[in-house]
Amino acid sequence: MMRSEPRALQLNEHGQLKHFLTLDGLDKTILTEILDRADSFLSMGEQSVKKVPLLRGRTVVNLFFENSTRTRTTFELAAKRLSADVINLNIETSATSKGESLLDTLKNLEAMQSDMFVVRHSDSGAAHFIAEHCTPNVAIINAGDGRHAHPTQAMLDMLTIRRHKGRFEGLKVAIVGDILHSRVARSQLQALTTLGVSEVRLVGPKTLVPSFFEEMGATICHDLEAGLKDVDVVVMLRLQKERMKGALLPSESEFYRLYGLTEETLAWAKPDAIVMHPGPINRGVEISSEVADGDHSVILNQVTNGIAVRMAVMSMAMSGQLQRDDMPVARGEK
């Protein structure tokens, strides 16, 4: 699989995370460290006092240029469990809608002396852009940028798989649906191949699964039965209604008939296969209620695991930034 340059941007001189922008370029050791640390945070949610002081005195800004209640909430909860002060900014209805540039918005936020930005943006590469143009010592966590990456979602999926399957080696995973527009699928594919699964199948019509994904290490299946045959993990993706308007699909009903996950189609997978979905679910569009709520579904576990993974990533990135505190760079200077 091809590797690009973001590795240099998101690791410090000691090879530790200082930003978390993409899984591209991160090796198995770092991904495993994230999973191990997330594992250790998971049990904390069951305690009466759900806090650790790792980010005490630090300010985390949830910078959402695009709406997402679920992701924003889990990031907020994760930051608070790390004892950080959290500010939520819904930029979509704020400064940029008044014509302020992204950079101007950032400069204002930097002036508020934040320590971490959790960024969601509709443009691919937005988190990279912010990491490159931000003051040093501000950690950037990508909470989803355009079609590019959603690395914490992918890592919470990896945690879910590891907790249910105990391993990655030898697993077959099918990701079904709108791969073309999915940042989740791209990050999942990178995580799964790095962690050593034996096969990742991308399943959907050619309009939603371009052949270029093959060069990224995936097997492409346009037939659901072939895609689900003997897989250990099924990941269903949300189908946006506008895909019909964009002439990518004829109708939701035809998509459901050909690619929907029902009890009948799930039977093609291994008997102990788990079913995942990044949410929110379209019942009767990509997945039936019986499967979404059934024994194979681990969808709610994903949500729980999401908080632990985000705690892990935030704490690691902040540690990576702290390694730089001894550098003679004052806040606000480049």
């Binding site: 091809m2 690009s4 340059e5 973001p6 591209d24 540039s101 992204l102 950079l103 943006h121 443009d123 691919s124 590469g125 937005a126 990279h128 852009f129 143009h133 940028d145 355009g146 079609r147 590019h148 990456a149 940042r183 791209r186 371009p210 270029f212 994904f213 060069e215 990224m216």
Partner: protein, 425 residues
């Protein structure tokens, strides 16, 4: 005023000259090469020992940004940038504000260019009013006002019928039409070459078919209407093949390519760096190499800078949100010389594509040092190492991925009609 440029290595592919010799200029024009003409006395003498004397470059794609977008550049600044890069003749597109769809705007551009006293400037007029693709412009009036061609730039036509009629009308009056082949329904919303890199990085792709489908349609209409046609900024391997086939079948068409499409590929998308956001996009290495082959085979006649200066903020955004274009006119010649290593091209071929090749595409009297031509030439030091920098740039544009890069070979001075308009310091 008489001028003798002596002892320079004079290279002019249009005359197949490559020799250390003298150039004689009188009353703005070249009057002799080699031996002084009779009565040539009292001339100023410039010693060009160790320098190359080359025809001034002819650049078919230079956005001057004036009128209407002077925060990005203006005729004076970009004209200055042009001559510092050795460009003595340039063609500018009609997408100014207001658009070049009236003789007044065409005249304004030329007046401003005359006032600036830098490169010779030839505007392209709009093919349709407002470049809206619906109502034909007053094409004849535009050419009478100095436009050297008409084009709808990268703006889509309302439909193929309007395009067909526009070409018929242009053919009636023997006007040159410049095509930017682009099927907008395929390229709309895209910002990068559709391929592995755009897929990996989640950038909306522009498929090669956006160019080739439009090119095929345009070629069929050119054949039908008999219009004189120039195809601008080709980016795909398949396009080279299609233009070659068209030429072989007897169609009188020409084509150009931007220098960055000859040197760079979509591999650079991994940086999410908006400086590499251009239209047409940087494509695959196979496309790039085929474009170079197209030059070698004479299918593509011209290399342009496709100079598009932007203000700083235009590139300070996530990739797709940046404005497309690079501002590289000042380094067009040293960049083009890199093709000799990259693509096994000889200097004569490269220089032809920067001088007489583009001049011939548009029927311009430029790009040659032949006796009787205007004395538009440059003195070039092929050995000097220099770094082009943001601080010393002449363009008003802030957008080049090449700032800080070192080049071998530099334009030392530029002459237009025998007058020195630029001298490197």
């Amino acid at each position: 005023m008489k001028l003798r440029i002596q002892n320079g290595r004079l290279i002019d592919p249009s005359q197949d000259i490559d020799a250390v010799t003298d150039l004689f200029i009188d009353n703005q024009k070249i009057v002799a090469i080699g031996e002084a003409p009779e009565g040539f006395e009292n001339a100023d003498i410039v010693d060009a020992s160790g320098q190359w004397i080359l025809p001034g470059l002819v650049d078919l794609a230079v956005s001057l940004r004036e009128p209407g977008m002077t925060q990005k550049g203006n005729i004076a600044t970009e004209g200055r940038a042009a001559v510092s890069g050795g460009v003595t003749t340039l063609v500018c597109p009609p997408n100014t504000r207001p658009i070049v769809d009236t003789p007044a705007v065409a005249a304004l551009i030329q007046d401003k260019a005359d006032e600036a006293g830098m490169a010779n400037v030839f505007p392209i007029g709009a093919l349709t009013q407002g470049l809206e693709g619906e109502q034909l412009s007053n094409m004849v009036a535009l050419t009478e006002a100095g436009c050297v061609a008409v084009s709808n730039h990268r703006h889509p036509m309302a439909n193929t019928k309007v395009l067909s009629r526009a070409l018929e009308y242009a053919a009636t009056h023997d006007l040159l039409v410049v095509f930017h082949p682009d099927e907008s329904s395929l390229s709309e919303g895209g910002c990068a070459h559709e391929g592995l890199m755009s897929t990996m990085h989640g950038l909306a792709g522009i498929p090669e078919e956006a160019e080739t489908i439009a090119l095929m349609r345009d070629l069929l209409l050119v054949e039908k209407t008999g219009v004189r046609a120039h195809f601008a900024r080709l980016s795909c391997a398949k396009s080279v093949e299609m233009i070659a086939d068209a030429k072989a079948s007897g169609l009188d068409v020409t084509a150009d390519v931007a220098i960055h499409n000859l040197l760079l590929t979509d591999q650079l998308l991994s940086r999410f760096d908006g400086h590499y956001h251009v239209l047409p996009p940087l494509r695959s290495d196979e496309d790039r190499l085929t474009l170079i082959e197209g030059i070698k085979a004479g299918v593509i006649s011209a290399i342009c800078s496709d100079h598009q200066p932007h203000e700083k903020m235009a590139k300070i955004a996530p990739f797709a949100a940046t404005e497309p274009g690079m501002a590289n006119i000042e380094i067009l010649l040293p960049l083009s010389m890199q093709l000799m290593d990259e693509g096994d091209l000889d200097f004569s071929t490269v220089l032809t594509c920067l001088t007489s090749g583009p001049a011939a595409c548009f029927g311009l009297e430029a790009g040659s040092l032949s006796v009787g031509s205007f004395a538009d030439f440059i003195m070039f030091d092929s050995t000097v190492r220099w770094a082009w920098s943001y601080e010393t740039r002449k363009t008003k544009g802030h957008n080049s991925p090449y700032f800080g890069e070192e080049f071998i070979g530099r334009v030392m001075s530029t002459y237009i009609s025998g007058q020195r308009v630029y001298q490197a310091v």
